[in-house]
């Protein structure tokens, strides 16, 4: 019983932490975008206003039970991946479910939400939503390949499928995997561009073509849950990258610095990019990133 209580507290604290950091990152990315475009931009806490406003909307509509459940699916993905990914090196409070899942479980749970969300978007009956979903799923098929290749390379190199073990290896040897397995890191970072869906890979939302795609019928509280799950999920993914490639973090400041540096890669790449077409995006991921993934596997297998 006490264990479950501790898990619950750990989960709640992790969630709150991820929520605040994630939302702040979104605000910061808006500032960075604004500065690049020679604007002043909104304050860093702008997204808190947005989220709270969406939360306090008086009305919201849904098109049926799947649409109603879609954001909850999304939230499950975000929270589950947050619970499985270790937030700090060692320490018992943020352990959560770290030792119960492994990388393959993580890969699959990470598509649980988008797929559930896609079902919700499908039920709206809005053609834009369905088009956005088909684009999004196609893109998932694209970037999952280099991403899985990078992970498989790590797995076979270090003979483990557990994130905690990978972190321990880095702690013991003192070398970050991003330097010992550079190809895997490059492949994973390129896959991250697709994962975060900033330009040029923002084909799912694409406000100018698709009217924000799968989200086009979501307003009010649904959009609130979507936005906060997006923030939590973004934080979880960044933490995962920090954990398996950059040696994890011992305290909050190091974690924030490392994740922010990583987060700036897709943001900065996105600011200066136009948008791909879907097949261009898919082909991009099957091109160079997959090659790097292959190199990573070769390195892991023969070096």
């Amino acid at each position: 019983m006490g264990e479950i209580l501790q898990y619950t507290w750990g989960a709640i604290v992790s969630f709150v932490l991820a929520f605040f950091v994630g939302i702040t990152y979104m605000g910061l990315s808006r500032i960075v975008t604004a500065r690049v475009q020679n604007r002043i931009g909104p304050p860093w806490y702008q997204n808190f206003f947005d989220v709270f406003k969406l939360f306090s909307k008086d009305t919201s509509i849904h098109h049926g039970i799947m649409h109603h459940m879609g954001p909850a699916f999304m939230m499950v993905t975000a929270v589950m991946s947050l619970l499985i990914i270790p937030i700090f090196n060692g320490g018992s409070f943020f352990t959560n479910l770290n030792f119960h899942g492994d990388l393959i479980f993580l890969i699959y749970i990470m598509v649980f939400g988008p797929l559930g969300m896609a079902l919700g978007a499908g039920q709206t009956g809005n053609p834009n939503s369905a088009i956005g979903v088909t684009r999004g799923l196609s893109q998932i098929v694209g970037f999952e390949i280099p991403w899985v290749m990078a992970l498989v390379a790590l797995m076979i190199q270090y003979k483990t499928t557990s994130i905690v073990d990978l972190m321990n290896i880095q702690a013991e040897t003192g070398k970050w995997l991003m330097f010992t397995s550079p190809f895997a890191f490059i492949a994973a970072v390129l896959a991250m561009l697709g994962m975060f869906r900033y330009a040029p890979f923002d084909i799912v939302g694409a406000p100018q073509e698709l009217a924000s795609g799968p989200m086009s019928e979501n307003g009010g509280k649904y959009l609130f849950v979507m936005m906060s799950s997006g923030a939590v999920f973004a934080f979880a993914k960044l933490t995962l990258y920090v954990d398996i490639f950059m040696g994890g973090a011992n305290n909050l400041i190091i974690l924030v610095v490392k994740t922010f540096i990583l987060y700036m890669i897709p943001v900065l790449y996105g600011i200066v990019s136009p948008r791909y077409r879907t097949e261009q995006s898919v082909r991009f991921f099957w091109g160079w990133p997959t090659l790097f993934g292959l190199l990573a596997i070769l390195q892991a297998a023969f070096l």
Binding site: H63, M80, G125, T134, L137, V152, E279
Partner: protein, 616 residues
């Protein structure tokens, strides 16, 4: 009288009774049909023990029937799925013609599958195999439409497989003088090297036709999609597993004894992976739900073949687990398609939309089955996929795991297409009258779907018999170090504790769902799917804005180059080449007496010329 004889007598007698009572009364026929299936199931599990054997002599051949743990494991799929499909068939086939014919072949194919599982000698194995082929062929052509196109492919490929198997049997018999399978296995290491390679290849050819492996899969899409859906679930769920059954036996008992068997296994593993990839890609491009499921079956069988070919403990375990799981979810999906076909009259994604509120139970069953198919965690599919990946990674098949992963990721596309095409999208006036399918159809598919849910948390239920089955093939026991009731291990000792993960998923989902629902109950409102924000335009009642044509066009464009040519075109070209060859031979044997006389003359002249060289 041995119990095994009685089982076959019950099935055959039931089949005949069903067939003839059709003339008397429809109700009587239905009762006989159901009773036979139930009686066979009850009889099988109550009276036939693992290890029972019976030997007898027929027309000078020593035959042997019996049941071992491995056959028992596959009988779970056959009998479980057939029983549910039988209940389903009663409702699905109501009002159709020639039901006696259909039910008779249905029962005979159950009989033949059980016969295959219980044959201990090659002759009865072959005979039951042929009975299975023919009974399923008769059901494929039941609909009567396109018999020429769909049935003929199936029967041609099956015949090729049967000839291969017959050749192998003759080869084995001439070398060992025995038709008992265990004799063949024990004497296999003493075969000549050429025979050691050819016998398994010939057997595998026969089995991979049934398992729809890549170059021999051509018949499958048409055959699966054209038989009545009540049978398709058995066809794809259980009957194709007979190929897997044979393959496992061949791989475990023969290939492993080859002096250098790695390359053989690699080739088959890659063939399985390519089958998975191509099946998935073709499934994505289908607009007909039955075709989609058929291609998806091919792809899923590809995973199983890969697992079988790798052959490590974990891989074999995953193959056996996936075999059962594929029976569960594909059975449920074919049944769901049948329900939709019955209620709406069409199975085309571009025609039917928005059935979710009309057929909620069918939707739930398909949703669960689809999640299991996609391998998303809380459900059973994840367990099978996880074991397959881990076994591939543990056994150093790095590129193969990527290939399999690609196939299973691309499977999300057709999974979504299936659910979206039928159930989501705009609710149309055209389908307003559609009602939920009768309970007799809904309950079987719900049972199958719930089976996938249970297996997601407690895979041990099915891994335990699988383990016993593997032990009967000579594997070491795996319980405790590769799996326990709800924990999975890989060979490096990493583990996935399913229970806390699944409970956490369910808990978080319910928490946020309740939060979302309760917090905003008063401020939320349901609006129809016509009330969408499409540039301020109001779609009219008869206007359908659902996007369903060319659904994954961008993806197909990206994946285009591999899909330019279908396998069948190669066969057609092959057929044309054969035609030309025969044309040429016909020119030689042109039926003209004078020509033949010239041939004889030429032959004699050559003989004379060669006389000195040959006889001198």
């Amino acid at each position: 009288m041995n119990m095994i004889f009685i089982l076959f007598a019950v099935l055959l007698g039931g089949a005949l009774l069903t067939f003839f009572s059709n003339k008397v009364s429809g109700l009587l026929r239905d009762i006989f049909f159901l009773l036979t299936v139930l009686a066979a199931g009850v009889f099988f599990y109550l009276f036939i023990k693992k290890g029972d054997t019976v030997s007898f002599s027929l027309a000078g051949l020593n035959l042997q029937w019996g049941l071992n743990a491995f056959g028992w494991y596959f009988s779970l799929i056959v009998l479980g799925l057939s029983t549910l499909a039988a209940f389903y068939a009663l409702a699905y086939m109501r009002g159709k013609e020639r039901l006696g014919y259909f039910y008779f072949n249905f029962l005979v194919s159950i009989l033949s599958m059980l016969g295959i599982l219980m044959s201990r000698d090659l002759v009865s194995f072959f005979v039951f195999w042929e009975i299975m082929t023919w009974s399923s062929y008769f059901i494929v052509i039941y609909n009567g439409k396109n018999v020429q196109r769909n049935g003929i492919n199936y029967i041609i490929f099956s015949t090729i497989g049967a000839y291969a198997m017959l050749t192998a049997i003759v080869l084995v018999y001439t070398n060992t003088d025995s038709l008992i399978i265990s004799d063949m296995i024990t004497s296999y290491p003493q075969f000549t090297p050429v025979l050691q390679i050819f016998v398994p290849i010939l057997f595998l050819m026969a089995f991979s036709v049934k398992a729809a492996m890549m170059p021999l899969h051509v018949w499958a899409p048409d055959a699966y999609s054209n038989s009545p859906m009540a049978y398709s679930s058995v066809f794809s769920g259980a009957l194709s597993k007979m190929g897997i059954y044979g393959m496992i036996i061949v791989f475990v008992t023969m290939i492993s004894y080859l002096p250098d068997s790695t390359w053989f296994k690699e080739i088959f593993a890659w063939l399985g992976a390519i089958t998975a990839i191509m099946g998935t890609l073709w499934a994505v491009s289908q607009d007909d739900a039955r075709k989609l499921l058929a291609y998806s079956s091919i792809a899923q069988l590809g995973y199983i073949i890969t697992g079988v070919a790798i052959g490590t403990e974990l891989a074999m375990l995953s193959a056996l687990f996936l075999a059962v799981l594929h029976g569960l979810f594909k059975g449920a999906l074919f049944m769901a398609v049948g329900a939709i076909e019955r209620q709406t009259g069409t199975v085309n994604f571009t025609e039917v939309t928005g059935l979710i509120r009309k057929m909620p139970w069918t939707f739930i069953a398909s949703l669960l089955a689809i999640i299991a198919l996609a391998g998303i965690p809380p459900l059973g599919g994840f367990v099978g996929k996880w074991m397959l990946y881990e076994s591939l990674i543990n056994s150093n098949h790095y590129i193969l795991v990527i290939a399999i992963f690609f196939a299973s990721t691309a499977a999300f596309l057709y999974c979504y297409k299936f659910l979206f095409g039928f159930f989501l999208g705009q609710e149309e006036k055209e389908w307003e009258h559609v009602k939920e399918a009768p309970a007799l159809m809904v309950v079987p598919m719900m049972i199958l779907a719930i089976g996938t849910v249970v297996l997601g948390t407690f895979p041990g239920i099915i891994l335990k018999p699988a383990d016993i089955a593997m032990q009967s093939l000579g594997y070491a026991p795996t319980e405790g170090h590769l799996w326990s009731m709800s924990v999975l291990f890989n060979e490096w000792g990493d583990q996935v504790l399913l229970k806390p993960l699944v409970y956490a998923i369910a808990g978080i989902f319910l928490f946020f769902l309740i939060l979302l629902t309760v917090k905003g109950w008063k401020t939320m409102r349901y609006v129809t799917t016509k009330d969408i924000s499409s540039s301020g335009e109001v779609p009219l009642e008869d206007e359908n804005l659902t996007f369903s044509i060319n659904f994954f066009q961008p993806f197909m464009r990206a994946a285009g180059p591999v899909m330019k040519k279908r396998m069948i075109t190669y066969y057609r070209e092959f057929g044309k080449a054969i035609d030309i060859l025969f044309d040429f031979t016909r020119r030689i044997y042109n039926g003209n007496g004078q020509t033949y006389a010239i041939y004889v003359m030429i032959f004699l002249v050559i003989l004379l010329l060669l006389k000195n060289n040959l006889f001198g």
